[in-house]
């Protein structure tokens, strides 16, 4: 398998070089045959990289410990699921996975767009080959997953214990997949910049691809949060850890993009800005891949330390300088078709949205790199932890939620203020009432304001659905359920988008609840003892020592009662994996009762059976996961194909022109 794997990767590298050269010549000399050949080369490269991935997977399945990568990350006693997920458990496999996703998506995108975007395609091909070449050079020369060991061990090391969790089977591939997927919109952006075809073509071509990358990355972040909550055991789900931050950065810029691109489609404005956002998202995705895999910013994720840092830094520098240069060169061609008529308009709302998202990205970036700055200039080691992000990003998030409530009610071009205030009446009233009720009930001003803002945003979303379906009912006479379904079917983008907004609001409530109202107590308990935290009683029943195929497990069995009434039993675990006995990992005992999570961490224990337990009551955390579910549904709705309208197609462009000018 090693020969096959490294062999196909070398062939893929050669084919990429060929494809790049042929596309270049084909585009310059205008030889369609050569361009066609380069398109086919993308299929070949994708197939070869997939074969290489298959070879590595096969090596994992057959426990081929002659491969250094396989021997270092898996063992025969690991469950097959974790053996397979060990594929991306280290740097080499992660990069191979990255290359697989980006080459396959590039091949699909190029094939889909080769007819319609004929002028762009050669440069799309070249850009994606340039990216492939970098990754394939890394995979063949610097950090190959197919390095063979001189002496084959009888048993492998096994996977890093932190990665042996169901969350880690899906979190890394989604995150890395999201990063890699940004290569497609980036390639189109570069093609548009090089060719000077900066009109609507490239924007239309990449919208869905940017949305895919954004959605997959968002889901990856959510699952990462879920994993952290269940495994890391500090009672939270987001620690503003450097690696989390860098993964969030491209998502923030992409979120800004999927909003502002609407302005370009509708009004032909913000062209430079949109181009910059796409370029920035890709650069940040590369930065994230680099940071996770190089350990520059040390953090709990720094197990993936390596020597590839300088290579990535060089690649990062090249794409940054190259794309910024191209962007500046093309600024004259990126002027707006139309002008902003009023700040109080949908465009204005999107502009503020973008200001806030980029400000948050900047603050997060700055906080993440500040330790390096401080070390360089002041020789002071420090860590920028959650307090900084709470104070800086907290207000920005609050502003974003308020904007989420106002934005959808703004009209394009110019909103009449009286109509706007009229529309804001009901959501605003809901928000104010929610704030007052919260202040009375929660006795916490800041949290109450945040709840009020969120309810306000929810009010707007509800209002949009109600009015949309009422309008349909009036004009078509449909029943309300039909009307709502038709709203989604007719305009999945708008109403699916609101579903994502709703998901954000649900998650916001979860974040507010758990951020402001978490309680914690520590107990030292003998078996049979009961501790009290809030309305809950936890009774430690005893320790159990268990043996699984690959680990020794200590389980603390804890009964949970609410106001004296028994509600169930949770187990908090410590795992001691073979070869990793000095790195015990944990899994928390979590029980959701109503809106509260009772969260039990096994801290310490004695032979006598006495344990140290930390118990958290985390209100509303389950809402974050519910919001995550709604997010996925909303995202899928965004991709739901819209039925072709029944009107004749010929009317399309004319209508469009009329409506645009109207």
């Amino acid at each position: 398998m090693a020969e096959l794997g490294s062999g196909v990767l070398i062939v893929a590298l050669l084919l990429s070089l060929y494809g790049f050269a042929v596309a270049l010549v084909g585009a310059h000399r205008n030889i369609p045959e050569l361009v066609e050949s380069s398109i086919r080369a993308t299929w070949g490269v994708a197939a070869l990289v997939v074969i290489a991935s298959g070879a590595l997977l096969y090596a994992f399945i057959t426990h081929d410990f002659s491969l250094d990568y396989v021997a270092g990350r898996s063992s025969t006693d690991m469950p097959m699921g974790y053996v397979l997920s060990a594929f991306w458990g280290g740097q080499e496999g992660s990069l191979l996975y990255w290359a697989t996703v980006s080459t396959v998506l590039a091949a699909i995108a190029i094939t889909m767009h080769r007819k319609r975007d004929r002028a762009l395609i050669p440069y799309v091909v070249m850009t994606s080959f340039a990216i492939n070449i970098f990754f394939l050079v890394m995979l063949t020369m610097i950090t190959s997953p197919f390095t063979v060991r001189a002496n084959v061990p009888a048993e492998g090391m096994g996977l890093n214990p932190l990665l042996r969790d169901p969350g880690m089977m899906i979190h890394p591939p989604l995150l890395l997949g999201g990063f890699a997927a940004f290569a497609v919109p980036f390639s189109f952006a570069i093609a548009a910049l090089v060719t000077g075809r900066l009109g609507e073509d490239w924007i239309r071509a990449i919208r869905h691809w940017a949305l895919i990358a954004w959605g997959v990355l968002g889901l990856g972040l959510l699952i990462g949060a879920w994993w952290a909550y269940h495994v890391l055991g500090w009672g939270g789900y987001w620690g503003w850890d450097p690696v989390e931050n860098v993964a969030l950065l491209p998502w923030l810029t992409a979120t800004a993009f999927i909003h502002s691109v609407i302005v370009q489609e509708r009004r032909g404005m913000l062209k430079i800005w949109n181009m910059s956002l796409i370029v920035a998202s890709f650069i940040l995705a590369i930065f994230a891949t680099f940071v996770v895999r190089s350990g520059v910013l040390s953090s709990v994720h720094s197990f993936a330390t390596s020597e590839i840092g300088p290579w990535f830094l060089g690649f990062l520098a090249i794409i940054t300088i190259g794309s910024v240069g191209l962007l500046i060169y093309r600024i004259p061609g990126l002027q707006s078709d139309r002008q902003l008529e009023s700040v109080v308009s949908r465009e204005g709302g999107f502009l503020f949205n973008n200001l806030l998202f980029t400000a948050m990205a900047f603050a997060t970036f700055w906080g993440t790199v500040f330790p390096i700055v401080s070390e360089l200039f002041r020789d002071t080691k420090l860590m920028v932890g959650p307090p900084f992000y709470d104070q800086v990003n907290g207000p920005i998030l609050l502003a974003l939620i308020i904007l989420m409530g106002i934005g959808p009610l703004l009209a394009w071009r110019q909103s009449s203020t009286s109509l706007l205030f009229k529309n804001l009446l009901w959501p605003g009233l809901a928000g104010v009432i929610a704030t007052i009720v919260s202040i009375v009930m929660l006795e916490h001003i800041l949290a109450s304001v945040a709840v009020g803002a969120t309810i306000f945003a929810v009010g707007t979303i509800v209002l949009e659905y109600v009015r949309g379906s009422r309008a349909r009912r009036r004009s078509t006479g449909e029943m309300y359920p039909v009307a709502i379904t038709m709203l989604f079917r007719k305009n999945s983008r708008r109403y699916g988008g609101y579903l994502v907004h709703l998901a954000v609001a649900i998650m916001a409530l979860g974040v507010i609840g758990s951020h402001f109202f978490q309680t914690e107590r520590q107990f030292v308990m003998e078996p049979g003892e009961t501790g009290e935290i809030g309305a809950y009683q936890v009774t430690f029943q005893g320790l159990e020592n268990r043996q699984t195929a690959d680990a020794n497990v200590i389980a603390a069995v804890v009964d949970v009662a609410r106001n004296g009434e028994h509600r169930g039993t949770v187990e908090a675990y410590r795992f001691f994996y073979r070869n990793f006995e000095d790195q015990p990992t944990a899994e928390m005992g979590v029980m959701t009762i109503g809106i509260d999570d009772v969260y039990v961490v096994l801290d310490r224990w004695e032979e006598s059976g006495t344990v140290g337990l930390r118990v958290f009551i985390n209100p509303m955390v389950s809402w974050i996961w519910i919001g995550g579910g709604v997010f996925v549904v909303g995202m899928l709705t965004l991709f739901w194909p819209n039925p072709k309208p029944s009107r004749s197609r010929a009317a399309g462009p004319a209508r469009k022109a009329v409506l645009r000018e109207a």
Partner: protein, 173 residues
């Protein structure tokens, strides 16, 4: 099979040995104030975790120190100062808002100010006199509106949006 059984045995012993004695002195549960302080301190030996959340021996000792100092009547400030003296300012999870660290705190504010300035310039530049348009939805209409008019206006807007999107899509296909 044999080595594996042996391995399992060794491991069980290890596991049983490892934590033994850790609780030798029964640590008093921390007071809420001590928990808060512990949560504001970085664990020096583990990256990214607070003293409250870390499982390391050092963090455990630090937690105890925090509690002891508080019990001895030290104020919160004095406890923080004690740790800053020993470990440097990097021990604080929230970097101080003074001296060099002001750059950390002010950069985002300056960033957002510059962003707002750019946005303001963009808006000011673009906002040229607009010819009076007669489009109903764009109307900066008078204040005395018939409520029904507003609603129907809104409905019109939605229907038009829907149509517009249909035709936009059509145009693309």
């Amino acid at each position: 099979m044999k080595p594996r059984i042996l391995g399992a045995l060794v491991m069980t012993c290890l596991v049983l040995l490892l934590p033994a004695g850790v609780l030798a002195e029964r640590e008093e549960p921390l007071s809420p104030q001590a928990l808060k302080i512990a949560n504001d301190l970085n664990c020096p030996v583990c990256e990214g975790q607070s003293v409250r959340d870390s499982n390391s021996q050092l963090a455990r000792d630090m937690r105890r120190t925090v509690q002891e100092r508080l019990d001895e009547g030290y104020t919160e400030e004095e406890v923080y100062d004690y740790f800053v003296d020993r470990y440097g300012v990097g021990i604080l999870r929230e970097p101080p808002k003074s001296g060099f660290f002001m750059t950390l705190w002010w950069a985002p504010v300056i960033g957002i100010a510059i962003g707002a300035l750019v946005l303001g310039t963009f808006i000011a530049q673009r906002k040229k006199p607009v010819q009076a348009t007669t489009e109903p939805s764009a109307g900066s209409a008078s204040d005395e509106h018939d409520p029904d008019d507003d609603l129907s206006e809104y409905e019109q807007k939605i229907l038009r949006d829907l149509d517009d999107d249909d035709s936009l899509r059509n145009g693309r296909q």
